[in-house]
Amino acid sequence: MMRLREGLARLTGAFRRHRAEDDLHAEFESHLEMETAEYIRRGMAPDEARRQALIASGGLTQATEAVRAQRGIPWLEGITTDLRYAFRALRHSPAFTTVVVLTLALGIGANTAIFGVVRAVVLKPLPHRDGDRLVYLRQSHDGPGGESILFSVPEVRDYREGTKTLGGIAEYSPFTFTLRDGNDALRVTAGLVTGNFFQVMGLSPILGRVTDATDDGAGVPPVMVLTHEYWMRRFNGDSSVIGRLVKVDSRTVPVIGVLEPAPYFPDRVDVFFNMVISDHHVSAAMVQGRTHRMTEMIARLAPEATVEQVRAEVAAVHERVVTEHREAYDPASHFRVAVIPFREALGARAQLMLWLLVGAAAFVLVIAAANVTNLTLMRGVRREPELVARAALGAGSSRLRRLLLAENLLLTLMGAVLGVMLAVAGTGLLVSFLNRYSARAGEIRLDGAVLGFTLAMSVALALLLSYVAALPKEGAFAALISAGGRRVSGSARKHRLQRGLVVAQVAVSVVLLAGAGLLTRTMVQLSQVSTGLRTEEVLTMNVPLLELSDARILGADAAAKERYQRMLQELRALPGVRAVGLGSPSPLRRSTVVFEVKAEGKVLAVGEAMPRGELRTADPGFFSAAGIPVLRGRAFTESDRAESGRVVIINETLANRYWPGEDPVGQRMAWTGDVLRFTPISGDWRTVVGVVGNTQDGGLDTEPRPVVFMPFTQMMAIGGGFVIRADSNIARLAPAATRVVRRIVPTALIENVMTVAQIKDQSVAPRRVNAALVSAFGLLAVIIAAVGIAGVLAFSVSARTNEIGIRMSLGADGGMVQRMILREGGALLAIGTVVGIAVAFFATRAIRGLLFGVTPNDPLTLVGVALMMAAIGIVACWIPASRAARIDPAITMRS
């Protein structure tokens, strides 16, 4: 057992080598001198005496080694020596080192960045206390717009009273408000919550307090809790914000607290209020209307309860409620309630995208590792004479292995350092991209855990690389030494491994390219989808003056309409403007007002779902200004007044739904459904006077929904969207238009001032980033694979120099040699491409959900990818092949 004191002495000894070595030599010298002097005294000649003294010493080198072994910690010193040696060796082959380090950096960097993302979005525990005990309930039904229809207050009550497995149910109703700060009007997205919301969610305030049961009900003052993000953004993290009064719509509300940082869900939210902030939310319509669904439900499992039990219980309650209240659940629409663990719900949208990125990054790493393995193998063969020489000088197999390990470790660590730098640069891009998909994107960091992952990955790679390079067996060295160390070609086994790696690289590259190709085609297809507007020189702008809930304010509607008319006139007078229309909302933006629609004389079959139509408004100039084609009948005119006959214009989708193959003009339709009771909208029959083309209001990749336009004059003025068409350069008009509106309504909210081109781009942008990311990975893979093919062929050529020389001296010309090498590379390329296409054929099905307008097995993409790989591969083969053709047989034969 080594004593502590000896251990410490050894440890310091390991680092104070130079002085100790000098000391030791001096000590040996004095010993020798004394012994020599003694021999001389006994009568020996001085030279002989010195010789005898040296013999008696038993060998100074061995003695030095023995003392060294006692002095320090041999393996530690071994490692530093190995690293120093490795560094020197790598400096002597800068090309190899550069290629390997760059390749590794790309592979490691990509995986570091993606692991950082996966950790933050999927793996890290939620900030919510016992976040794994939270579940999200989602009610949905068939048909467009039915993916998540929220819950009504009576429904929430059903679940609260009818379940024992739910420990607490938090209600959250999304809403938007206008926050006024001096003359500034800002739109804030808010969550209206019950007092128990924060307690159920397991979130605490970092400042002030959050809401509790005393904030529930109608008779309490409204209060406001800021999210951490909004507090930082709007109030710069000012801690004196508690108690400050903020003007929200027409009320003044105190800030009572700031929430700890937490991912928002299901929508991005700036602030929380108690329900009383909205008269509507505490009205009888809201509290008693079973079809008045405006509330999200997030619940905490009761102690001991499992998600499975909750599912069973929720399903039972739902079934009972549906039978008790048949009028509220159209059986043909198949109402259902899903119970989803909160963590899953948070990441659901990001999941597919994330796994795609994980896959792409892993593929790049596989290709990079294969490439580096190949380069290492080739270098290993070239180094064989050197290794043999080392063995001859006494280095054992394990010593050589350690040397290789040190070299590879140095390579992978250099790659890791560079890779982390790449990852740091790329993370910002990834965060902004994933923000669209996951509320947790803000948590993405390259922290200790991620760097630990990177380090582990590097060490694993280094081990892998050190053990694929087969070292000659201990005994085999002797034979190699006697053969003079000249043996340049690798064994057949090694050759097969190299070829296999090249084939794998090509195949994996093809799969990645196929994914990239499909996503790129998706983006192209999407940007070619028509918006439904005939011109793109259109500017849209939303100036909401009223909300649906302002219906009871006397005279508000008339006043708003008068101001809209003034804005219209002023906008028309702007230079360059050709037409201005007004409608709600502006085109290419989805209307949130959706009701069931019935048609006169059309009885739905049993089990057929009731169509739901978006309610929109339009003035006489709306369709022509927006360039929306009137397919049948007419547009609205000035004669469609508030007091004249009720008329509507429907879109093509609704026309085909109720009047397929017929002319709907002159027919009558009406809004219907229980929920109309809570709105100022009547269920009177309205005459269809026109049919217009569909527009892509929900984004370019969605199916158009049924739409009913009502004359601006015959409906309350909600929303307020302007459509402005000009001769040219529409984007330049935006500041002038904003100024005009500002003058008339100085404090109103003006939002979404965007040209049609910008709206379209907003819809395509995520797909573009999508395609760009995967294409970047695909391109990386192809470049690495090309370097791999070129490298292996070049190596093969140099190993076969003698053979080629003989062939040429026997009459083969340069062209024949070049073709021979090209054939060798072409075979690998062909096998790799075929394997890759076969794998891609199945693998691309995994990304079906991310595609639009192309099938996962799109033949055009697959063929294109194969051709591209072949072209790049042949270029890569050309370089070593043409070098082979230039081999001079005379020189080769002589050497």
Binding site: R3, D23, H31, A37
Partner: protein, 114 residues
């Protein structure tokens, strides 16, 4: 039987300590000569055996080395027993005697062992 004996593991440290105890501070050459003479030249110590042993004792704190002029005006590294080394010598000597007695008892002629 070979002319020379190998130094038994663990016994060299004891010999060095004893030598320094008897002769006072001494350099490596002196220690080697003394041990060889005491063994009547049945033991020879080459550097590779002697110096690691000296270094180990130094690391353990039983001896301390110091450069000073030798008797004929050369410089040499002199090793001296430390107080800890003196205690260690006493302990090892006792243990050695005990072991020797034990082995002697085992190897004693038969009639005594009966």
């Amino acid at each position: 039987m070979a002319d020379k004996l190998d130094v038994k593991q663990g016994t060299l440290a004891l010999m060095i300590l004893r030598t320094l105890d008897v002769l006072g501070p001494l350099h490596g050459y002196g220690v080697a000569r003394r041990i060889e003479e005491t063994s009547r030249n049945r033991l020879t110590l080459n550097y590779g055996t002697l110096y690691p042993a000296l270094l180990k004792l130094e690391q353990e704190g039983f001896i301390s080395g110091e450069w000073r002029p030798s008797e004929n005006n050369r410089r040499a590294k002199y090793y001296a027993l430390t107080p800890a080394g003196r205690k260690q010598l006493a302990r090892e000597t006792r243990e050695w005697h005990e072991t020797a007695d034990l082995i002697a008892a085992f190897l004693a002629p038969r009639r005594e062992a009966r």
